[in-house]
Every structure is written in C-alpha cells, then in structure tokens.
C-alpha cells in the first residue's frame, strides 16, 4: 500500500477471480485493480480471457448460460455479487461499450436518451441537456446536431461507435468498460476515439481491451497482460512496454508471438 495520499485508489478490484463457461475456466485466479480515473489497458492474445474479465466487471457474464465464477470483485469496496447489489444499478455505475457498435434502430436522440429513459428520466429539457452533453463529450455533437431525430443507422461506423460511447456516458457511469472499441474503425475514427478516451479519464475510470499495442501505449496509464486465462503482469504502461518483468510479456509486446 502506498503512503502517498495522491496515489489513485482502486475503483474496482478483482480478487482471485476465476471464471468458467460450464467447467472450462476462461480466466484463472486473476487479481487486478482498476485504478480510479486512470485508463487500464487489457492486452493479450486472442482467447486469453480479456473480454471475459471485462464482462465480469459489470456482470454481463450473468447473461451467458453456464457461466459461473469464484472469487470476488469489488466496486468501491462493495462486493458486486453481494445479494444486496442490484445488477441494474451496478450496470448504471459500470457502463460498457462493445467491440461491434450496436446502436438501436431508433433516432440518434433516442439512442443516447435510452439509458436515461429506462432510468426514469422524463423531463424533456433535462433529457435534451444530457443528450447534448453526452454527444459533445463523445465529440459527435457537431456532426449530428442537425439530424438528432434521424435514424442512428444512417451514421458511419466510426460515428456509430462514438454514439455508443455517448449512449454509455449519458447515464453517467463511474466506470467505462470498452471492449476493442476501435477495432472496426479506420485510423481517423480510431484517433478520434483515442482522443476521447484521453478526455474522459478526467471523470471516468476506464478499462479498455485492445489488440493494438500502439493504442495501448498511447491511451493507457496502466497495462495488464493476460495469457491463457492468467494475468501475467500488470503495471504502469511505460514499464510494461519498456521494461517488463516477465519474458512472456516482453515477447508479446515486442510482437514475437500473439
């Protein structure tokens, strides 16, 4: 434990987390802290359990039949699997952006307002304010402000993904989980999303899965390297990329395998 009072505290923390699909373990005894208002990148070869870990953090794995876990996950010292925790409430606090942008076949406005509406917000001007704020936050406002009531499906891929980020931000979660948010986008759209992540970390705690080493190096403060369901190493991004403790980490980040 650091004695420095300014050192970020863990916003979320997994302790000895093992997750199985049926009997097959996808991640094994992972202990990892996601620090408050920092960007944590999860890297590792395909199938190593990054998405599984991410989905565990807002209990989206609950939706997969047969998925089960041991170990604990804390959000601000609260066990997210505790019986007193309402999973709907948890997901409002821990939002998620998916690899494939998945806007609803509704208008741009209704997409962003969705989380607010299901949360019970009815006041029209409050909704409008929040929608504008979120769209500005995701750097999409200028592109869509004249077509808020047109279908979200008419947006480009990059715009759709930023819309999904705006939609997740609209409910003002404390943690934002992003599973390869830019993997289907061109370099310009990717740069926009990365810029966005930079701005968001002032207010949000972010965990992002990426296959792109440069991206991880660019956007994250801390990097966690997963390999075959285990957490091999986690540390400051710079340290992981320049001076990893583990040979496997070095091989992976330098592109020797994976």
């Amino acid at each position: 434990m650091s004695l420095n009072p300014n050192a970020p505290r863990p916003k979320m923390e997994a302790r000895e987390l093992t997750l199985r699909y049926g009997t097959k373990a996808a991640i094994q005894k992972v202990s990892l802290a996601i620090l408050d208002r920092r960007v944590t990148a999860l890297i590792g070869p395909s199938g190593c359990g990054k998405s599984t870990f991410l989905r565990a953090l807002n209990r989206m794995n609950d939706l997969i039949p047969g998925a089960n876990h041991t170990g604990t996950i804390l959000l601000d010292d609260m066990d997210i699997h505790d019986r007193s925790v309402d999973v709907v409430d948890l997901r409002r606090r821990v939002g998620m952006v998916f690899q494939k942008s998945n806007p609803f076949p509704k208008s741009i406005f209704e997409n962003v307002a969705y989380g607010l509406r299901v949360g019970g917000m009815k006041d029209k001007s409050a909704l409008e304010q929040r929608v504008e704020k979120s769209l500005r936050g995701s750097a999409l406002w200028d592109e869509v402000k004249d077509r808020l009531h047109e279908s979200a499906l008419g947006l480009s891929g990059g715009q759709q993904q930023r819309l999904c980020i705006a939609r997740a931000m609209a409910v003002e979660p404390q943690v934002l989980l992003m599973d390869e948010p830019a993997s289907a986008l061109d370099p310009i759209a990717t740069a926009k999303i990365e810029e966005l992540i930079h701005e968001l970390k002032a207010t949000y705690t972010i965990a992002i899965v990426t296959h792109n080493m440069q991206q991880a190096a660019r956007v994250s403060d801390r990097t966690a390297f997963f390999y075959m369901g285990e957490l091999v190493e986690c540390g400051a991004t710079e340290q992981i990329f320049t001076n990893p403790r583990e040979k496997r980490t070095e091989d992976y980040v330098t592109g020797k395998f994976g």
């Binding site: 997901r91 998916f98 998945n102 609803f104 949360g119 279908s151 939609r167």
Partner: protein, 303 residues
C-alpha cells in the same frame, strides 16, 4: 453422360419445374376467373347491404359480412396477446431447452396438426359446455346465457386454432432481433422487461404483424370450428352481444350450396358470396401488409 444427354436432362428439369410453377398459377387463375366471372355481376350494393330473402334465393349477405368481420376481429383480439406472450415466454424467459419450453413447443406443433373440425368439437365441449355453463352457474343466470353458441365462443375457438401460427411467427420475429440490441439495453441498466418493451418487441413488430396477417387469413376462411360454436344458419339480425349467434360468409356458402331448395336459383348468389369472402380475406391481408410495411419502414427509419 454425353453433352447432349446432359443438355436434355437440363432442359427436362427446367420444363418440369416450370410446369409445376405454371400449374399452381393456372389453378389460382382458374379459380379466380371462375369466381369473378360468375360472381362479379351479382355483387351490387343491395347484395352487400341487405340480409338474405326468399329462403336464400334472393336478397344479400350483409349479416354474413358483418358476422365474419366481427368474428375475425374478436379472434384477433383474443389470439394476439396470448400468442405473443407465449412466444415471448419461450424465446425470452424460458431457459433454452428447458423442460417447460420443450413441452409448450410440442403442444404448439401438435395443435397446428389438429383437424379444424376437432376444434369445433373442442369449442363446444370446452367453451360452451364447460366454461359457459360454469359462468351461468356462477353468475346465477336462470336460463342459458353463456352456455349456448355465440360469437364469443366461436371467436375463441378460432383463436385456439390460429394460436400456433401466431406463436411460431412471433418466435421467428423475436429470433430476428439481434442479440446485440438486448445486450446493449441491459448494459445501459435496463431491466429485462424494459428491454423487452423498448427494444425487443418494437424490433419484432413487423414479424408479429405478419403472424397476425397469417392468423387472420386462416381464421376468416375456417368454417368447421364455428359450426357448433356460434354460426347461424339464417339470422337477418346482426350480433349485438358476445353471446349472439351470427351469420358467416363461409358457412353461408356451405348452406347455400347444400341446403337450398333450388340449387340453380341460388348459384349466382353463391358465386357472389364466395367472391365477397375472397375479397374480404384479401382486404384484411392487405391492411395488415400495409401496417407491416409501414412499421418496418419506420423501424428502419427515424424511430
């Protein structure tokens, strides 16, 4: 095979499949042509707006048109909620391959295979004798009120008959709603029922309406299920209560074709009735198809 025989086989297959397609179209054409040729002249305003007269050798068929429309409407009101809810249970709530879901599916498949006359007997036995008598007893009716054939029981019987159609097409429609939309909704903190009401059902609406179209066109033409449950042989008065009997185009056609004292004299009326029945079914279909295209366009469009 030499190139020549190969070509011959190809040609033969093409002609054979073409012929099969042609036979279908020809049969439809012949039926339509026959009905229109013999029936179109008789479809006048008087025919559409007057009750039958002269022992069904004159007058019109208004009560039968009204009865068919009212019956079909009631049936739709009854079958849609039950069918949609069942499909929602099967696809959204029941764990996949759960015993209960499998049991319901087997029941649905078997229900779809039951001959329609059996539904008529079922309606008589279950709705009229069991439910109807029970209601009369419970409500203290001295004489039969519910325990007799009426439009409510007939429409409920038809609803049972068309239930599988609605369930199957609704399930199909639910399957077509991308899993991503459900996940996105839940990840935004929506409950399962909010996800259902705001994302899943709106997405499935065009498919659900397709189910309604199929159910209506099936139900509007069925006669056997309503024979013992509410259709009247001859009744110039329109149904006014849920327990009123009613005339029906299909049954009226059957009655005119088989019970008329003078078959020759009735034949023009018969053709016209059949034409009206066909038109009514087409019109109902058309309305539903229009609603469906509208909602589909709307779903793809702004909302």
């Amino acid at each position: 095979m030499t190139p020549n025989t190969r070509r011959a086989v190809g040609l033969a297959l093409t002609s054979l499949t073409g012929l099969a397609a042609f036979i279908i179209i020809a049969m439809l054409g012949i039926i339509l042509f026959n009905v229109v040729e013999n029936g179109a002249g008789g479809v006048t305003w008087t025919f559409l707006s007057k009750p039958p007269e002269d022992g069904m050798m004159g007058g019109g068929i208004f009560p039968a048109i009204f009865g068919t429309a009212a019956l079909t409407l009631l049936m739709t009101v009854a079958v849609m909620p039950v069918g949609v809810l069942t499909a929602v249970y099967l696809h959204e709530y029941a764990p996949p391959n759960s015993l209960s879901a499998r049991f319901v599916r087997v029941a649905v498949v078997n229900l779809a295979g039951v001959p329609s006359i059996v539904f008529g007997l079922f309606g008589l036995g279950f709705f009229i004798l069991f439910v109807g008598q029970g209601m009369d007893r419970a409500l203290g009716h001295e004489e039969m009120y519910w325990a007799q054939p009426g439009i409510l029981w007939a429409s409920l019987t038809l609803a049972v008959l068309t239930l599988p159609v609605v369930i199957v097409s609704t399930e199909e429609a639910l399957r077509a709603v991308p899993m991503d939309h459900r996940t996105a909704s839940l990840a935004l903190g929506a409950t399962q029922s909010q996800t259902l009401g705001r994302v899943v059902l709106p997405g499935a609406l065009p498919g659900i309406l397709t189910g309604a179209v199929l159910a209506i066109s099936r139900g509007a033409g069925e006669v056997a299920p309503i024979l013992f449950t509410g259709a009247a042989y001859f009744l110039p008065d329109l149904p006014t209560h849920l327990n009123s009997q009613f005339m029906h185009l299909g049954y009226h056609t059957y009655v005119m074709a088989t019970q008329s004292p003078d078959v020759e004299a009735t034949r023009p009326l018969l053709y016209s009735t059949v034409l009206v029945l066909l038109l009514l079914t087409f019109a109902l279909n058309l309305v539903a198809v229009i609603i469906r295209t509208r909602t589909r366009r709307k779903a793809a469009g702004s909302h």
